[in-house]
Symmetry: D2
Subunit: 228 residues, 4 copies
Amino acid sequence: MKMLWTPLILVNLKTYMEGTGKKALELAKKAEKVSRKTDVCIGLAPQYSDIAQLAKTFSLPIFAQHIDSIGPGSFTGHVLPEAVKEAGAIGTLVNHSERRLKLAEIDAVIRRAKELNLVQVICTNNANVSLSAATLKPNFIAIEPPELIGTSIPVSKAKPEIVTETVELVKKVNPEVTILCGAGITSGNDVTAALKLGTKGVLVASGIVKVKEPYKVLLDFAQAATAL
Amino acid sequence: MKMLWTPLILVNLKTYMEGTGKKALELAKKAEKVSRKTDVCIGLAPQYSDIAQLAKTFSLPIFAQHIDSIGPGSFTGHVLPEAVKEAGAIGTLVNHSERRLKLAEIDAVIRRAKELNLVQVICTNNANVSLSAATLKPNFIAIEPPELIGTSIPVSKAKPEIVTETVELVKKVNPEVTILCGAGITSGNDVTAALKLGTKGVLVASGIVKVKEPYKVLLDFAQAATAL
Amino acid sequence: MKMLWTPLILVNLKTYMEGTGKKALELAKKAEKVSRKTDVCIGLAPQYSDIAQLAKTFSLPIFAQHIDSIGPGSFTGHVLPEAVKEAGAIGTLVNHSERRLKLAEIDAVIRRAKELNLVQVICTNNANVSLSAATLKPNFIAIEPPELIGTSIPVSKAKPEIVTETVELVKKVNPEVTILCGAGITSGNDVTAALKLGTKGVLVASGIVKVKEPYKVLLDFAQAATAL
Amino acid sequence: MKMLWTPLILVNLKTYMEGTGKKALELAKKAEKVSRKTDVCIGLAPQYSDIAQLAKTFSLPIFAQHIDSIGPGSFTGHVLPEAVKEAGAIGTLVNHSERRLKLAEIDAVIRRAKELNLVQVICTNNANVSLSAATLKPNFIAIEPPELIGTSIPVSKAKPEIVTETVELVKKVNPEVTILCGAGITSGNDVTAALKLGTKGVLVASGIVKVKEPYKVLLDFAQAATAL
């Protein structure tokens, strides 16, 4: 299995053209280079149709952006956990703010992912929801205030208390959950701030995927992560 | 581009294990063999994560099972039309009974697909909805009474009037739409019956994907299609 | 039954506080006064919990804002067509831009409404979708470009071609459908413009519900409607 | 405010014809009689359009079956918490198995309900989800295994461990949450069993609404509840 460790920089390629198909491969190449150079774990969450090629070509841990809480069967157009696993994903985002799930579905997705040894990263929008999510025993929680996503205002500066409260509450009910934070992260400084608040890494999208020099920015992120 | 012609046997691999990953490749190999032998067009609609590998390996036309009505952007976990196109899909199912869409979404999906020259197959549940869908100018309509899907009761026998009424109504508002029918199709006889009702092919899933000898059944389907 | 005729001013109270509970009753009183004075039909679409009181108190035709495509049964939290009918509604909005429905659901809702003699007003976002909706044989189609809803830019001025194209296309497939238009309507002039484009009335919300003097504005609307 | 106390028999009228309009009033009359006779609290969760009439006529606590996580505004067809409050509801079901909500929505609904002093009853499907829901600090959790809903197999007998595990887990994170249980409850014995497992009452639907003699069955339920 592709190794997964912390500090973790998890790059969500969303449905950006800069993160689709060949462009996803180019980005992955840079990410792999940075990861090797700095020994920081860099994960990628590409679109479903790019998982197989990325997983085959690179040593980076690949995540699905979502899986459905289904088993094999008649679910046309849905995302079968077994399929993304066979394509090479080692984990999945769950409940991203652009793909929110029902509570009972999150519970079911986590169970399905555990059955298949897929790493689970539940995305949450506030400390209370993080606590609620933590009781479902995911591997990771990524706290991302939706209002900061896509901005250049880092959560670690704008709303540090959401992160620290998440870290604190989650620790109480489930100390085994690793916390990431996201939204508005655009520089190594933001990564440093995130780690200082008690997280073990960041979930980032446009801050890497849509910048002119992703290699440079990723390197900045990774060096900040190791400096601590 | 992969050629698409009629009669068309469009095989929906759903999220069956028998149609996922390596198994999808094995099935595609058989389908390609039948298509070459009989000159019947056989399309496959695999899961998103299998599109690229199938499109690269086989000469069959590959369809997505669904695309979202989005453009490039912040849509984590969604299916970008550009992504399935780049992966090698030449078309997409739209509004399958297991993935129904809002009316305004179907309109938007058809527009996005046309922009990208992706062939559109709108699935419908009755003649009236077929008519409604036809006004949105898709390339294909696949009429499938949901209550027969997954059974071995072919729509062409159980509810032939749904098919003939669809053919008739659609012809009036949009004679350029090609009609397929689906649900319960398990033999060459069912294919013959479907074509006799005025369709140009079938949409099939378990009848091919979950049988012991898919090659044999596909050949039976294809030979029936050319016999007419 | 409460009478319904054209020209029709259909006021959607949405979930505005100014259109909830006692405030809905006050607004209805003014609407009834204008309707009596001008002989223009004024319908109200209040929240579910206000239907009964409004229907009992006033002679205005009351519409639900939405009904579900269900029959009696186990559908907690859904809106049973029979329930809004018994509460006194004579019809329902269907597929409002803030409550879009799947195509197959619209078809099913229209069928259920017809069974119960509930008048159906399908809301649509463009001419093509209007045409598609018209094939489902509703009583009314209300064309409302979503981007103009809540603005003071009337569709009849900003995008008159959407209205005329809707009128034209719908007439071809189903001349029995009555067309309304909505979005951005704030004055009698806008109503006049809407009627001149071939509609038989307007669907309006904030333009009446959230103004300081709803009586005065409604009167302006109604007088414009009768002047033609 | 209508008083609310335990033991609580909360009757969900769903969208049953036997619980709609006039029939809802008849049922409420019987429930009020039983409540007065036995001093057991009986709540009713009718359809939205019946809330006002029931709340005005009877001294029973009335619950909405669902509210949306919205404030006043442009949300046609949605359920404004303020509207059901003004109609006379004192609380609401949240996340019923027939109306599941996204996790972030449940959090938002609970916040909105608390703002308006509406009592919240989150419905859950298993012990883990109950725990997750309890962290959101609702007043009540009603544990109902979906597979038993509508059957006559009481959860208290078929799956007592789901109830006891819920009681235990919830107590740890939030001892102020009151637990109800539901699904398959048809007799006083089932009520007794539910209370013995540590709950403070039951959520019931067809077991009361669809029986021939609701008065008699409700009385049986209530007497069992007081006998303990």
